[in-house]
């Protein structure tokens, strides 16, 4: 259809929004980042040990231990949902990974004979293909997370159950299954590929902890997906106005299932990384971590009402929690104060955001 071409619109009535009132500067993530910077400066003067290489590595490693799962849960929170099952999912994935690894590394068993053989000395177990056992066991761990994520997504998107109740149920189901498969004992990564496993989960590359590298790669990928792909746009639309998303023809059910699957996979990966650092996957691993993860996401600016959030916020939230924990230890404050302080910060972060949005 031919349209009369108008001259470009002149904005006589509508002022341009000032740069400090838009984007990151007007977001909770922005001033939590600012608070974090201030905190880092204070820590530098409070303790000479804070900015040492060892302590920085420690901090980087520790916050990476919840940050990957926080990225995942941020996806869910942006759509306006919640996933309480991340803690249990970490444990179960880690447990399945190390159990599969142990099983495939036993030369006597039917599965093991395909993957390993005895060395000439009759004692050492050698892998037929180095690294294959590691790959299969990690895929198995992520596979169970995928299934649990699909079940979460199906119940929420197709059956219409509330995300809170569904994932609360899944928290219990997955934790219970962990106890069932392990008989409550937990499991240890073993066999010829165990060294690769430790290197891939808790090693360093040029002094940078591996989990931190994974985190940076995943966070970058998440930023691209959220802001430069149609899927990311639909995730935000779903959190902003679900009815509008449906009316404009967005495949709401599919997007919802996908975010719960992403969240479960992130939690599974996180669990596998943690078990590498712990050297085992005990049955009570990562209990109540879902609260830390959700707290980190919310402090970093993800809005539980949906529609707002991102990878930077997730990481900033995790770093803030870890710096506070680390700082309290260095300042020789009783570590029992930590939880109390974390609670205060959650409320403060949300409160400041409320005041700011009232003022503008």
């Amino acid at each position: 259809m031919a349209m009369p071409m108008e001259s470009p619109i002149s904005f006589t009535n509508v002022g341009k929004i000032k740069w400090w009132q838009r984007g990151i500067f007007a977001s909770q993530t922005g001033y939590v980042l600012l608070a974090l910077a201030v905190l880092l400066v204070i820590m530098h003067f409070a303790s000479p040990y804070f900015f040492t290489e060892g302590n920085m590595q420690n901090v980087a490693k520790n916050f990476s231990f919840i940050a990957v799962a926080t990225l995942g849960v941020t996806f869910v929170i942006i759509t306006g949902g919640i996933d309480l099952s991340v803690g249990s999912m970490m444990c179960f994935s880690a447990m399945i990974t190390s159990m599969v690894m142990t099983e495939l590394s036993a030369p006597g068993s039917p599965a093991g004979s395909l993957f390993v053989h005895m060395a000439a000395d009759g004692k050492t177990v050698l892998a037929n293909v180095p690294g294959l056992i590691l790959l299969i066991s990690i895929l198995a761990g992520l596979g169970v997370a995928l299934i649990a994520g699909l079940v979460n997504g199906f119940c929420i998107a197709v059956l219409g159950l509330s995300p809170f109740v569904t994932t609360l149920g899944m928290l219990s189901i997955v934790r219970g299954l962990g106890y069932v498969v392990s008989n409550g004992r937990g499991s240890f990564p073993g066999g010829p590929d165990a060294d690769y496993f430790y290197a891939a989960t808790s090693g360093d590359v040029l002094g940078v902890p591996v989990p931190f590298i994974y985190l940076m790669i995943l966070a970058l990928a998440m930023a691209v997906v959220l802001h430069h792909s149609a899927f990311g746009r639909h995730v935000f639309a779903l959190g902003g106005n679900e009815k509008a998303a449906e009316l404009t023809g967005i495949p709401v059910v599919r997007v919802k299932i996908e975010v719960y699957v992403i969240c479960a996979l992130a939690a599974g990966l996180q669990g596998i990384i943690i078990s590498g650092w712990l050297g085992s996957a005990p049955a009570n691993m990562a209990t109540s971590y879902e609260l830390n993860v959700i707290a980190a996401a919310v402090i970093g600016g993800a809005n539980l009402a949906g529609g707002i959030g991102g990878p930077l916020g997730a990481i900033v939230g995790c770093v803030l929690l870890e710096v506070i924990r680390n700082g309290l230890v260095l300042a020789q404050v009783s570590s029992y104060w930590q939880q109390t302080l974390v609670g205060v910060i959650i409320i403060l972060a949300v409160l400041v955001d409320r005041i700011r949005s009232r003022m503008s």
């Binding site: 108008e6 619109i9 929004i17 792909s229 149609a230 902003g240 404009t248």
Partner: protein, 252 residues
């Protein structure tokens, strides 16, 4: 603009709809010409929204035939109606507040650029096209502003720009002026004029008599599931339409 020799963009013949024992619509015939603005009026429960939902593809009619641009159509889902060129601007506008104007205009049909196997959003092209559409609607709306920072009139412009994107030939607007300020009502009526200028047929569902008389070429009054009146706006009066809506006057 509505010449006698043009095919009507929308033609309904004997449309009826029953929900169980309830007869929501009965024997509705109507025609809408390209570039014509038709007001659809009626009290609550008169069958307006059922009629709109049938045209938009939410319901299938129990009886009768829908012809769009001369050929018979059967919609089983709203997407089917949108595919032939029927767009609905909903009362609550169906906008995602947390996204920009351009993102809302292109929601569900984003422009993408291929980078090998990956398709990424083409922000520039979307912003440029959105600015063009806002220009056509003469609305001072910046494509990169968030919808939550916008006035009611700007929001309407965003919702209407969305219908222009697909080159819709019939736009149905459900109570667009119900909950906005006087100045913004002016803007929305202006937007309807812009659509009309471009040959788009508009069906305006409204309770507000002054708005209907300000922009419509023709008014259709529904009562108790039947069409009671279908008159050019200059041959009727607000008083007559009110009488038709309430039933004080049976038909005209």
């Amino acid at each position: 603009m509505a010449n006698a020799d043009t095919t009507p963009v929308l033609e309904l013949q004997g449309i009826g709809k029953e929900f169980g024992a309830i007869r929501a619509l009965h024997g509705v015939d109507l025609q809408v010409q390209p570039g014509e603005v038709v007001g659809l009026m009626g009290d609550n429960g008169a069958g307006k929204s059922t009629l709109v939902k049938i045209i938009a593809g939410n319901f299938r009619p129990s009886h009768g035939e829908i012809r769009f641009a001369g050929s018979a159509v059967h919609f089983s889902r709203p997407v089917d109606a949108r595919a032939v060129g029927i767009e609905v601007v909903y009362q609550d506008l169906a906008l995602a507040d947390n996204l920009t104007a351009a993102a809302n205009v292109f929601l569900g049909r984003e422009l993408k650029r291929k980078f090998g196997p990956i398709a990424l959003l083409d922000h520039k092209a979307m912003a440029a096209r959105a600015l063009e559409l806002f220009g056509e609607l003469r609305s001072e709306t910046r494509p990169d502003d968030l919808v939550k920072q916008m006035s009611g009139g700007q929001r309407q412009a965003v919702a209407i720009a969305r219908t222009r994107l697909s080159n819709a030939r019939l736009v149905m607007m459900d109570e667009p002026t119900a909950a906005i300020s006087v100045r913004q009502v002016e803007q929305v009526l202006g937007l309807i004029h812009r659509l009309k200028e471009q040959g788009v047929a508009v069906m305006l569902i409204s309770h507000r008599m002054p708005d209907v008389f300000a922009v419509c070429d023709r008014v259709i009054v529904m009562r108790r599931g039947e069409k009671r009146a279908d008159k050019p706006i200059d041959q009727t009066s607000p008083e007559e339409v009110t009488a038709l809506i309430t039933g004080a006057k049976e038909a005209a």
